[in-house]
């Protein structure tokens, strides 16, 4: 992906590799162009797909026959203490070392500025000795204030759901199952906040994780840690219930056992990532778009794929029906989504006939959806039509990682650079930065735990230290300087230009990088009053595989991870495949 000059019949740059896919030209024709895909409104309607990291990890673990083991549990009757869980991959093993501590209710908060948590944990590479546990005990509960070592891959923490945790313990202790309605309303027993990897606070660097642990795909270590802590949390509630209820205590049954995921509160910290890593984001989006295009390019639909699609459509319809949010604006979007899915459900026999009888039926279906339906429905259908086509698209999960960052092309002429800028950034050049609303917002790091925050430029101090996320504004500032350089000497190299005017180093390199990675640039103004940060969050969270997106404001959201996923003792290739759009009613 990502050849700078190639384009398909619809003008979509970054053509798929025709050599790798025999139907390359047909796929190109169906690629949605970056100017359509890379808008916040559409990114903010992203759904998990079978290429999402959690889905990919579970398929891998099942395929490779990973074994899972409870190695140690040193919890008191209240569930405080520590435990160790092992995941044995071929030739390697990983350990979740988790600490459960008492936490006063007034100290419980999801903000990064919190200092204590109910649960804290690391994912370690290899075996963990008693001395390691002592060292981790002294540091892991402190999180950012502690230090871990290069044998530890992931550091994280979680808080109990006040709404649900105690209810589940009480019911199980009494020998009863929890109230299904309360389980479905919350969806998780604990909720993580930050999940750290890649060398933060002394953790193993990404370079070592990739080359020495076998966890090569994006966020594989993090997703593994969350999967294991989900298992621990189920054990935790059952442990406490058994301590209280004795022999009469119950174990959590399905659907709760499978449907309870790990919640997460995601705030602004994740948002700058989608701007700062254009090569990686291009890889993610381009892989998904090529998967989508491959299915749309199919000349006919296999009956088994159609059956599977219809089955999953009905499940997704019920999944959306169970989706709850307290955010008024988002509730309106979900209401429209439900109505559109209902209308489609009523037409499903006709949909089936068309899929089985018409040429390029998946493309025809999507054209129909694109003409009739909201962006939410369009993006959900994208996810659905990928599901039956694992054999066609799953290989694209190998393209998700980025081996390089932004890279300058020093030999390029300034004339060529200006042409690339004009070709790619017309959207930025058309923005009116004389409007006060166009620069209403500024992104910055607070001195408090280096937490990313969003400020209002004309109402708060600090804009002089803002993060450099205003790509559109920078493009407008850059163009006159570049045009002047072209006028003076069009053949001058970009290398020479940057030496003379280092002020433009970052934006010049970005223009060159995006030319080869066109799905890596969000084509909206990140500083505008209308910018909704959770659109960024939802996109990245969808790539993780998170569901139950539930905005609490325009700056943070709750989601649920691994909802519906098989527990370690039920993980097989079949169960690893079939947990998309989980529904409580399925049991």
């Amino acid at each position: 992906m990502g050849s700078g000059g190639a384009s398909g019949a619809n003008g979509a740059p970054g053509a798929p590799d025709a050599g790798r896919n025999p139907a390359g030209d047909a796929v190109m024709r169906h690629m949605r162009p970056p100017e359509r895909v890379m808008r916040l409104e559409r990114l903010g309607a992203s759904y998990p797909t079978r290429l999402s990291f959690m889905r990919s990890l579970l398929r891998r673990m099942a395929r490779e026959g990973w074994r899972f083991e409870r190695e140690r549990s040193a919890l008191d009757a209240q569930g405080y203490g520590h435990a160790v869980y092992a995941a044995h991959a071929p030739g390697r093993s990983f350990r979740l070392v988790v600490f459960s501590d008492a936490l006063a209710p007034e100290a419980r908060t999801d903000r990064v500025i919190a200092e204590q948590w109910d649960v804290s944990f690391v994912l370690a590479d290899g075996a963990v000795a008693d001395a390691d546990i002592a060292r981790l005990r002294a540091n892991v509960p402190k999180q950012e204030a502690g230090r871990v070592g290069p044998q530890e891959l992931v550091l994280s923490r979680a808080n109990r759901s006040v709404r649900l945790f105690d209810h589940v313990v009480e019911r199980l202790a009494a020998g009863r199952q929890p109230d299904p309605a309360r389980l479905a309303e919350v969806g998780y027993l604990v909720r993580t906040t930050a999940v750290y990897g890649n060398g933060k606070f002394g953790l193993a660097d990404l370079g070592r994780v990739r080359t020495e642990t076998g966890l090569e795909r994006p966020y594989e270590a993090e997703m593994l840690a969350i999967y294991l802590v989900r298992w621990f949390v189920l054990d935790l509630v059952e442990h406490i219930a058994a301590a209280r209820g004795g022999a009469g205590a119950a174990r959590l049954a399905n659907p709760g056992r499978r449907m309870l995921g790990i919640g997460n509160a995601t705030g602004l910290g994740m948002a700058p990532y989608l701007v700062k890593h254009p090569v990686l984001i291009h890889n993610w989006l381009a892989a998904r778009e090529e998967a989508f295009a491959r299915v749309r390019a199919l000349p006919a639909a296999e009956p088994a794929a159609v059956r599977r699609f219809l089955e999953l459509f009905r499940r997704a319809h019920r999944h959306v029906g169970e989706w709850q949010t307290g955010d008024r604006r988002f509730a309106e979007r979900i209401a429209r989504l439900r109505a559109e899915l209902q209308a489609m459900l009523e037409r499903l026999p006709a949909v089936e006939r068309r899929l089985l009888g018409e040429p390029e039926p998946w493309d025809r279906l999507m054209r129909d959806v694109e003409a009739r339906c909201s962006i939410e429905t369009q993006e959900l259908l994208l996810s659905l039509i990928l599901e039956p086509h694992g054999g066609l698209v799953d290989e694209l999960e190998d393209r998700l990682a980025a081996r390089t960052g932004e890279r300058a092309d020093p030999r390029m002429s300034v004339e060529r650079l200006l042409a690339l800028l004009d070709a790619q950034y017309g959207w930025a050049l058309r923005l009116d930065f004389d409007r006060p609303d166009a620069t209403h917002l500024f992104w910055y790091y607070s001195a408090e735990k280096e937490e990313p925050r969003l400020g209002e430029r004309h109402a708060e101090p600090g804009a002089e230290r803002e993060m450099r996320l205003g790509v559109a504004r920078e493009i407008q500032a850059f163009r006159p300087a570049l045009a002047a350089a072209v006028a003076a000497d069009p053949g001058r190299s970009v290398a020479r230009f940057m030496l003379e005017q280092p002020r433009w180093r970052a934006i010049a390199r970005r223009v060159q990088t995006v030319a080869g990675n066109p799905y890596g640039e969000i084509r909206d103004n990140m500083l505008d009053r209308a910018c909704v940060p959770i659109d960024l969050l939802r996109c990245k969270l969808a790539y993780f595989g998170a569901v139950r997106f539930d905005p609490k404001s325009d700056r943070w959201t709750r989601i649920c991870m691994y909802q519906g996923a098989p527990q370690p003792d039920e993980l097989t290739p079949a169960t690893a495949e079939d947990w998309a759009f989980p529904v409580w009613g399925d049991g």
Partner: protein, 239 residues
């Protein structure tokens, strides 16, 4: 204290940004310092010295002049401008080019390795005022290991001229300059693997000096920013 490469990368990037460098040079410097520390070279110490000396200022990062022999800076840190210099060197003829008045010349090495494959190999030599070679580095284009020789860590103060060569000229430059220079006992790749596995030892006082530069990018909190800046409130975020 023991740090990860990413710890070093992040702090270096923030330190250079906090010191006022043009956008993009913070990323270049962070990559360079991380590379150097993994290679066992004192990248953080050199960066702190250069930041303290005001070399992140935009004027210090700008090219002074280009002559027939090469580039001349007023006084620039190769940790900040080194990537751009190597890019210039590979962007066109001649195959051997000079750069004058650089401090922390080891800042050229990371980009030299990164560009070696596309250039048919790269070599960098640090020369004293007398013309003698103080340090040399060779980055072959193929699978052959990179080679460092001489005193990159603490070069003689008179060593301010750098030669950069690409392609076949790179092999000639390295052969001519490296002979007689001390070679580190462990190869570069082995040193990097060791540091990735075990972490990198760092002087705490030095780290605090870098952190002081980095702290300039942070905005002091206020009641408004705590309440609204990150989105979630003190009460409703807890269910």
């Amino acid at each position: 204290m023991r740090l990860s490469a990413n710890d070093i990368h992040r702090m270096a990037q923030r330190g250079v940004e906090g010191a006022g460098a043009p956008p993009g040079l913070d990323v270049d410097a962070a990559r360079a310092v991380e590379w150097l520390e993994l290679a066992g070279l004192p990248g953080v110490a050199a960066l702190v010295e250069d930041l303290d000396a005001g070399l992140a200022a935009p004027a210090a990062c700008r090219l002074g002049a280009e002559t027939a022999e090469g580039l001349v800076f007023a006084k620039a840190s190769a940790l900040l401008v080194g990537a751009m210099i190597v890019e210039w060197a590979v962007a066109g003829a001649p195959a051997r080019r000079n750069v004058e008045r650089l401090v922390s010349p080891m800042g050229l090495l990371p980009e030299a390795e990164a560009r070696a494959a596309e250039s048919g190999g790269l070599a960098v030599a640090l020369l004293r005022g007398t013309g003698e070679c103080e340090a040399a580095a060779g980055f072959p284009a193929g699978d052959a290991a990179p080679m460092l020789a001489g005193s990159w860590a603490r070069p003689d103060r008179s060593a301010r001229r750098v030669q950069i060569a690409s392609g076949a000229e790179a092999a000639r430059l390295f052969a001519a300059t490296a002979s007689g220079l001390a070679v580190p006992p462990a190869g570069l790749d082995a040193t990097r693997r060791e540091h990735l596995r075990k972490g990198i030892e760092m002087d705490e006082a030095l780290w605090r000096r870098l952190a002081a530069h980095a702290a300039r990018i942070f905005v002091p909190p206020s009641a408004v920013s705590r309440a609204r800046g990150a989105g979630s409130g003190a009460v409703e975020d807890n269910d």
